[in-house]
């Protein structure tokens, strides 16, 4: 409609706040040579002073990876990635001596996190949130470590955990996402650099939110983090990850693996606010985000919730999943995915019901604007023993303008007659009438759009820890600036 086109043109002229996390930190980096081969894998392992078993584990993953094919079933397209054209390890030189405390950390690094709104100084940090800050390939600081140790919670960079708690890491690493699970998981297993490790012992309710903040800074560098969270019997933890990167013209690679293990009656709440650089309005640059996230509800009545707010990245390929093994276990997936300009996202979840009386709930809210394309891809699988298993899925898509796309691809496999699966899906469009109505009542176009979109995603925002819900809401608004149609 002419009116819509006119609106789009008019709004384009409104100054668009550019990606505000796009600055670069100038810092001397220690890098290993570009490219990927067995020597590189050995070098990464050596940089991390890893035990022999982990090196072998990596090498095995690398060998398997070389025999695998990059998946092509997702509804995304991008030029072929030359995996030899990336650096697989980059760390600030000043981190070479492993600073013992925050006082010894390079002020440039502390300043970077401060500018990102993540002050690592414990005095300034939001009370009740512990942060592990990962800069390219290394963790630069973890706050509140000692306070957590008092209650027995282990929260540290995974490279440190390999040295300090090898028995725990070895027991769980790769048990939820095997090294050969998929192409990107195999790649990650071979070259992962840092990430967080969390262990919450039996009966402990983690007294604060745990959070990891990932920052890709160095040029032509991939980030391959690995996170492992284990919640023992009757324990509880809430964990949040955030991510940003500088604006660069070339695409950067991010292939993470996250494994969650929930034992009897335990609960893990995992929230993500993903705001990797999405590329410019012509689709130049941005992060390729290929992530494998999976939770195993091993124990009876265990529970895992994934909540994600995905606004960044040029290409997203991500399906946080739950294997509901323990009887009575529960999996939840709450997602807001926003694509603007030329972003592409193929995201969703997998709920695999193995045990009896298992329940899962999927609420997915996709918003497409600009010329972006978005796909919800979800699998609900009820295995033969999943007696009385229940699933509820709701997938809503909201379109802004008339040049974007939204697709819903649900897969449902039921092998137990007592299982019940419910699926609801809607697609709607922010209409000119809605915008006119809001403006007639005194709102400008941007405000009106933010209000309409917030109404659409509210159900999911409510699932985020309170400290981050406000931030996420602001992010939703910024991501859609200049996209009214």
């Amino acid at each position: 409609m002419a009116a819509t086109a006119d609106t789009v043109e008019r709004v384009k002229k409104i100054s668009v706040e550019t990606y505000k996390y796009g600055f670069e930190t100038e810092i001397e980096m220690d890098r290993i040579p570009k490219g990927l081969n067995e020597d590189i894998v050995r070098m990464i392992s050596a940089k991390k002073d890893e035990p022999e078993w982990l090196l072998q584990w990596r090498l095995e993953a690398y060998r398997r990876w070389t025999q695998m094919e990059e998946p092509d079933w997702a509804k995304v397209s991008f030029p072929k990635i030359d995996y030899n054209d990336y650096y697989y390890y980059a760390a600030p030189k000043s981190m070479g001596d492993k600073p013992k405390s925050l006082d010894e950390v390079d002020p440039k690094l502390l300043d970077t996190y401060k500018r990102l709104g993540i002050p690592l100084d414990e005095q300034e940090r939001l009370a009740g949130v512990a942060v592990d800050a990962v800069f390219d390939s290394v963790s630069v600081a973890t706050t509140f470590k000692h306070k957590l140790e008092e209650v027995g919670v282990i929260f540290m960079p995974i490279s440190e955990a390999v040295a300090k708690h090898p028995e725990l890491v070895r027991k769980y690493l790769g048990t939820v996402v095997p090294t050969t699970d998929n192409y990107f998981a195999a790649l990650n297993s071979a070259v992962f650099t840092d990430g967080s490790f969390v262990y919450v012992p039996k009966g402990v309710r983690c007294p604060m939110e745990l959070s990891t903040y990932f920052r890709i800074n160095a040029q032509e560098t991939g980030q391959f983090e690995r996170t492992l969270i284990v919640c023992d019997d009757d324990a509880y933890v809430s964990y949040l990850e955030g991510c940003t990167a500088p604006m660069r013209d070339e695409n950067q690679l991010h292939a993470a693996v996250v494994e969650l293990v929930a034992m009897d009656n335990s609960e893990i709440k995992y929230s993500t606010v993903q705001n990797w650089y999405p590329g410019d309005e012509n689709g130049k640059g941005g992060i390729y985000n290929f992530v494998t996230k999976r939770a195993q509800c091993r124990g009876v009545n265990s529970k895992v919730s994934w909540t994600q707010v995905e606004t960044g990245s040029a290409v997203t390929w991500k399906y946080p999943s739950c294997i509901l093994q323990g009887d009575g276990s529960q999996g939840e997936f709450y997602s807001i995915a926003i694509t603007n300009n030329l972003q592409q996202a193929d995201t969703g979840t997998k709920m695999v019901h193995v045990g009896k009386n298992t329940r899962s709930r999927i609420i997915s809210k996709g918003i497409s604007a600009g010329r972006s394309d978005q796909t919800y891809r979800g699998l609900v699988k009820m295995l033969p023993n999943a007696k009385n298993a229940r699933n509820f899925t709701q997938c809503d898509s909201l379109l802004i303008g008339d040049r974007c796309g939204a697709h819903t691809v649900p897969y449902i496999e039921v092998a137990n007659p007592s299982a019940a699966v419910e699926h609801e899906a809607t697609t709607s469009k922010v209409s000119d009438d809605q915008l006119f109505y809001c403006r007639q009542r005194g709102m400008n176009e941007e405000k009106a759009l933010a209000l309409i979109v917030n109404g659409f995603v509210k159900e999911v925002l409510q699932e985020l820890p309170m400290e981050f819900a406000v931030e996420a809401q602001a992010l939703v608004e910024i991501s859609l600036e200049g996209s009214v149609g």
Partner: protein
């Protein structure tokens, strides 16, 4: 207050002319009714005054309190005190009425240089206005117009009008789809807002709304022009004779 001179407006998409030289003067405190057959351009007039996209003004002018109304953006017109009660209020799922109204009120206050109202203060104000208008305050907790009955939607429009405190309100077929009880409640709400400064333009097809909202002036709009003006007695005449004469004229 409002001065419309020789206004010509066409639909952008197909160039069809709807308003063909409409002239109308409204003074502060006056209530004008515009009546006319279907397709005469009644709703177009309301939309053009509010600044809806999709129309092209080819000739004429509209001055509102001495300002060139047509040069203002939709929200600027609202800030200047123009309110349009919609014939078909728009649904906005998931957005709580209270939050919607507070955002509207604070945006308007900001534009007028007034301080923002806190959530608490606004809630008190909204509840008080709802009580004055005999509107169930539970409406404030629901999503904007979502699942509202026809009567509820129109009552919500009157509540919004009361909160935004406009100087000039256009009521576009506010009576359509209402039963007689709902009509009375809505009309009482409008009457409660009448004073010697605020003006109303009541657009309607039927005379019955004017039994409740007594106009000072009645105009007949046919084929894009005001073809006759008079006092309340004109509405009575239309009720008896219908629009037959005017349809022929068109």
């Amino acid at each position: 207050m409002l001065s419309i001179q020789n206004l010509h407006a066409q639909i952008e998409e197909d160039g069809k002319e709807i308003l063909k030289g409409l002239t109308l003067e409204i003074n502060p405190g006056e209530v004008h009714a515009i009546m006319g057959p279907n397709g005469a351009g009644k709703s177009t007039l309301g939309n053009v005054l509010a600044g809806k996209d999709g129309y092209v003004i080819t000739e004429g002018s509209v001055f509102y309190k001495g300002q060139d109304l047509l040069a203002l953006e939709v929200e600027e017109r609202a800030h200047a005190g123009l309110f349009l009660a919609f014939q078909y209020p728009v649904e906005i799922p998931g957005v709580q009425m209270l939050n919607f109204l507070r955002t509207c009120t604070n945006e308007t206050r900001a534009a007028r240089g007034l301080p923002e109202l806190s959530g608490m203060d606004f809630l008190k104000l909204a509840r008080a206005k709802a009580a004055e208008l005999k509107i169930n305050p539970d409406m404030l907790k629901r999503s904007v117009n979502s699942g509202f009955s026809g009567g509820e939607k129109k009552r919500a429009e009157v509540l919004q009008m009361a909160l935004l405190d406009p100087q000039f309100a256009v009521l576009d077929e506010t009576d359509s789809g209402l039963d007689i009880d709902a009509l009375r409640i809505v009309a009482e709400g409008v009457n409660a807002l009448r004073d010697d400064k605020r003006s109303f333009l009541v657009i309607t097809h039927y005379q019955r709304l004017l039994d409740y909202i007594k106009p000072d002036h009645v105009h007949v709009l046919a084929d894009g022009k005001i073809v006759r003006s008079g006092g309340p007695e004109l509405a009575m005449e239309l009720e008896e004779r219908g629009y037959v004469d005017y349809e022929k004229a068109a």
